[in-house]
Amino acid sequence: MRRISIRHLGRVPKRRENRRAELALAALASLSLVILGLIFVFLIKESLPLFKSYPIGTFLTGLEWQPTSANVRFGLVPLLTGSLVVTAGAALLAVPLSLGLALFVSEVAPPRVREFLKPCMELLAAIPSVVWGFIGLVVISGWIKDAFSLNSGLCALNGSILLAIMALPTIVTLSEDALRAVPAAYRNASLAVGASRWETMIHVTFRAARPGLVAAVMLGLGRVVGETMTVLMVTGNASHISFSLLDSVRTMTATIAAEMAECPWGTPHYHALFSVGATLFVITFIINGIADLLLRKEVR
């Protein structure tokens, strides 16, 4: 038994089992960090060989993606705008829908309705992306074609609709958490000074939860920016630059999925696809990073 002196007061000596358990858990936790780091290193390592034969400036600003032509061009811009347009469209559709749903579930709905709605929404998240792609191909393309009198319903809007539905569960769950985290005192004070429930919801609770809500939206969109199968099936994959939601687009993810299987290992095309993947990784990382910062700010 250790002798306890005045110096040891206030500091409990840790027993060996505690130390071992802590180390094991810390190792597991750092594993995720290590894997993330390794993925990043791998992506960069496989991307760099492209830039020996193809200038990085041309890659980042090139306006054409023609990897298998006689005059090979690896331009990121069409793919970047494709992903951007589809994700922006998804944001436009998802934000009002999911924030409204989150407000309803956390502030308005009676407990029974809430207990029913939440599992339904989780179920949405469980549907495989290829099934969504199929629904887009068969059902939604017909609607879009008729509604906008287009030649074809395979466009960015189709992808945006599906991505908005896929982002819904993530955004609603996180928004709901943010709304619940608003102290009851705020709500009570607002109601006490005579504001209606609606006014309280919008002007007090909603505003107080704003950083958390923004983070929820960014995390949900960060997830869908990496969505592959769905957009591959429904956006038409045309590699031109277009900012119209009713036009076909080619996303970064669909490009990698469609072209990776064909490239022989080590060709410039192979490395170009890794460069696209690295870009995607960086974008997702930035989105999630900002969302995380916002979430921390909220926990004051």
């Binding site: 074809s152 395979l154 469609a258 072209e259």
Partner: protein, 298 residues
């Protein structure tokens, strides 16, 4: 609690027993029962590559496996380039291809000490399809090239109704894409606004629904939902309707051979399979699937 522990143990035993029985049945069902004549051919073949060939290849594989019960043949698609990549990797025995091997791919195989060996197994007619409501009946190769490179953007320039042209192409990994790019576009690029669809079926569906659509498929995939275009090699010559006879005789400009490549000379099983593909029963299957049997003596 004793009672809970007992019932838990029973539940656990039941689950383990069900799993054990289920696994045994599942694994045992994989074992082949030998039926029919045993000719000693056993083993497995893995074939990958052209989506144009995949259905035909699968039909051959099925018939071959019935004739030789000791053999397992697996066929998958992914595009001709995918098949070549797999052949170079050594992960497949045979690669289906709707285009000839590229010199870079040939060099890779040579570098591995297994030079590519080409086998022609069938002929195909690449069919340009349009929507049934489209009035245009035939086009010349030059007009097709202008459409696909984006020089012509409306059907009224070709004698049809005023309707914007939408192009539905295969992805760049497809041998059919490579064939069209080489023989119709003469190496030029498709226009950037061409939709790159993941499969022949998706092209069929898209063109069937789009009044201004034009796409290309292998003849074997033609359905009534779309209308095939007759193609004339030059402005003055007669347009030729895509058909088996026109492809075999060489009259149809967009006819092409379909290949199977092996790394080095094919092994016993692969040789037997390839011989089957051009045998009488193999040729019957080829014609049934809408392709053209290769000339005899290949």
């Amino acid at each position: 609690m004793r009672r809970t522990n007992g019932s838990r143990a029973r539940g656990l035993t039941a689950v383990v027993l069900i799993l054990a029985v289920g696994l045994t049945v599942g694994l045992a069902s994989g074992c082949r029962k030998s039926v029919g004549p045993q000719d000693g051919l056993t083993g497995s073949l893995v074939i990958r590559g052209s989506d144009t060939l995949v259905n035909l290849s699968a039909a051959w594989a099925e018939a071959f496996m019935i004739a030789h019960p000791g053999v397992q043949v697996s066929v998958s698609g992914g595009g001709s380039s995918t098949g070549f990549a797999a052949l170079i990797d050594g992960s497949v025995d045979l690669a289906n291809a709707s285009r000839p091997i590229k010199s870079s791919e040939r060099d890779s195989l040579q570098g591995k000490g297994k030079p590519a060996v080409e086998h022609v197994v069938a002929l195909d007619a690449v069919t340009m399809i349009i929507n049934p409501a489209n009035g245009v009946a035939s086009l010349t190769m030059a007009q097709l090239a202008d459409i696909l490179t984006g020089k012509i953007t409306n059907w009224n320039a070709l004698g049809g109704a005023s309707q914007a042209i939408t192009i539905y192409s295969r992805e760049t990994s497809s041998g059919t894409y490579a064939f069209v790019q080489e023989h119709v576009l003469k190496g030029a690029d498709f226009v950037a606004s061409a939709r790159l669809m993941p499969s022949t079926e998706s092209i069929l569906q898209a063109v069937a629904q789009d009044r201004g659509g034009i796409g290309y498929i292998g003849l074997g995939y033609l359905t009534d939902a779309v209308k095939p275009l007759s193609v004339a090699s030059e402005a003055g010559s007669d347009p030729v309707v895509p058909s088996d006879e026109a492809a075999a005789s060489g009259a149809y400009p967009l006819a092409r051979p379909l290949f199977v490549y092996s790394a080095g000379e094919p092994g016993e099983l692969a040789r037997a399979f390839l011989d089957f593909c051009v045998s009488t029963s193999g040729r019957e299957i080829t014609t049934e699937m809408g392709f053209v049997a290769p000339p005899e003596g290949n």
